[in-house]
Symmetry: C2
Subunit: 475 residues, 2 copies
Amino acid sequence: MNAQNKSITKRDEDFAKWYTDVVRSAHLCDYTSVKGCMAIEPNGYAIWEKMQDILDKKFKELGHTNVSMPLLIPENLLKKESELVEGFAPEVAWVTQGGSKKLEERLCIRPTSETLFCDYYKTHITSYRDLPMLYNQWCNVLRWERETRPFLRSREFLWQEGHTMHATSIEAEEETRKMAEVYKWFFHEILAIPSISGLKTEKEKFAGAEYTITNEALMYNGVALQAGTSHYFGQKFSKAYDVKFSNKDNKLEYAYQTSWGTTTRMIGGLIMVHSDDYGLVLPPKIAPKQVVIIPIGNSDEVDSLCEKVKDELNNNGITTYIDKTDKSPGFKFAEAEVNGIPVRIEIGARDLKENKVTFARRDTREKIVVDSNIDYVSYTKELLDTIQKDMYERALKRRDELTFTATNLTEMEEILNKQPGFIKADWCGKKECEEKIKEIRGCKSRCITEDKLITGKCVCCGSDAKHNVIWGIQY
Amino acid sequence: MNAQNKSITKRDEDFAKWYTDVVRSAHLCDYTSVKGCMAIEPNGYAIWEKMQDILDKKFKELGHTNVSMPLLIPENLLKKESELVEGFAPEVAWVTQGGSKKLEERLCIRPTSETLFCDYYKTHITSYRDLPMLYNQWCNVLRWERETRPFLRSREFLWQEGHTMHATSIEAEEETRKMAEVYKWFFHEILAIPSISGLKTEKEKFAGAEYTITNEALMYNGVALQAGTSHYFGQKFSKAYDVKFSNKDNKLEYAYQTSWGTTTRMIGGLIMVHSDDYGLVLPPKIAPKQVVIIPIGNSDEVDSLCEKVKDELNNNGITTYIDKTDKSPGFKFAEAEVNGIPVRIEIGARDLKENKVTFARRDTREKIVVDSNIDYVSYTKELLDTIQKDMYERALKRRDELTFTATNLTEMEEILNKQPGFIKADWCGKKECEEKIKEIRGCKSRCITEDKLITGKCVCCGSDAKHNVIWGIQY
């Protein structure tokens, strides 16, 4: 029956291979002849489009507008902010030739666009009346990564990057928090992923930012994924790029800046949190197709009910299609399963004679036989809501099971060797301790929590602790 | 009163300067520190978003799906199709360094993506059952142009590129025609631009295509703009890139291919066809904001009517906002005018006492006083329809006025020296004649018409003519 997913490795056997198998079987993306760059296929791109729709609407509700800045950054412009260039220079791609001519100044392909936005804002902001400037762009960026993995880490990826300028630090800091909240909302409400948000440490924050608020999610295998960060720059970049405005007191002041972004790696997160041995599992709110109707046997009655249900559901905002291909029903079931369609409705001639129709949930693979005369819209809506809620609860339970506490390095090492996860531990605030902890299987600080201290002593050096921190191995 | 557009050069005085002034005054795009690359600003990008919405919906209705292919093309891959590489190699940008390492093989930034799609299709098409493959992508491309102009010609631009593979030439040719029709529909119905579609000559067709169907529009100044082309490749690329499938007779065959694209240069076309000395003029169907309501004077009655009208219009699919800023009404009028808002509704306290409200059309600048108790939805809808229709008619009239016929080179030269436009003339089909005609102010063949011959003799060499052709100077 499961012709399609015969090839999927068991998740508990080899997680990395399972992940790649799901990506390939569900036709989400594929490798290309361009090293480290992926082709995002229709099923994968449709998820990205839905992510864009939902986030873009939210950004616009909050007053942001979209723009498009250049792909290329002249080397001189990039170099103006020293921390940024140190952070990104080792991983940018350089254009040195245009047409048949060698360029006088090389240009890098944007790894992020703070420089270009600052360069724009510099000539477009003169007075506090021009502020805030709340711009965002949806685009591709490139970072010359050595090791790549579909969706999670690739040289080119798609993202949105918001870049805003404000007249006061209070407003800019509020924007930084607000956008981190938007990402958290998106993870929880739409992707059914319970993320933890908090400050990054000095070592892990964005190059050049005063601080970074991150959203950290835990994958099924206990590895952490950072997705959705919001940065506060203060006046750092606006000083480097000379973005000044005359304030209400008619004095020249540097503007206060934020940036925030999230990427196609969220698709990787979705897979790693929710999917199973049968393929992709998608929360209904992000599934491009929410319901598939599969007719079984040929009869006018079956066909007309299929059409009726499809129309009713689509007219009520539930994205539904009928699989009318000439494949066998079993093959169609398996295909819908591997592609992660949240709900499958099986309408068969024999069942209809007994007034029966079968619903199948993708998340639990449960089959539910219902009366064929039900109200399909309200029944399906409720079922989709239940699936969305249950998926979140299961992800939360898994995360809680994989969240540990450690009071010293030996405990930390034992946990990580047995089963990686989030490890809560106190920390003194020193970079050296972070670096020492990283020696244990590359474990890094994920974010600073606001929870109270566990022992009050640093998990690494034993001196007085400043923060409770979540640690983990990352993608 | 027209504080904002004081700086707009008169269209009839200096068309090129007028164009740049409109682009800048309406905040559509700006130059950047990256030579030849533009920053598309909120007002410009909102037009692009609306173009994307409408076209994307149409593409999907016709069975296409979106994907994302890499930005970079390895030199070897590009070189496989000789005509393509000859056509594009002189104008691509080359990445030669990734991170701190010199690359073994240089990569070009995509000028177009036939190669990448073929490379993908090669490994994903095996049987006629896989066909057709109907993919499209919305992305940025880069061509190392020497002379650039906002929207019309820039090194980087945004576009959509459809790339499809079919089992038969009949299907592929039908797709080529169908997508050219979609562009024509979009120009006529949405952009209110009467385009002429037809075949490109051998000399002017897309590098590597068997043939190209183009849409040619005429700008207000009589210069032609090509926007929206659809190409048929036959098996040319599929042979070069080895895209084979087993057909219904179980024999291996090369697939039949098309591609079609349109770009942000359409925004330039919109401006050059419709705008005037007061700034941008937008057809209602492509205007991101269709109606602005301007309250005059402070009164509860004014405010409540403004809110009521705004809600009614928005609820009925007419995008409407109230200008509540503290600028003077006159300034607001001018701003709405320069930004091309199709309809302005002025609601004033004094007028309301006499049950009067004023509508102003952006296209004709006509003011219409109406009873304040009208049905705002139906009145506004009708007005927007009228504006859309009138704008098309005016553009058509202008195009017809600037469409000439020539029977020999002297006539052609006289026309072009007096007032450029579309010139209809017979042609023998020889490239040498095209090249000779190009010596007259760079005049090129725009497209082959299906009209009957005028004299039956080539406008250039006087030998027997094969086609009636439209000629013109181009952007």
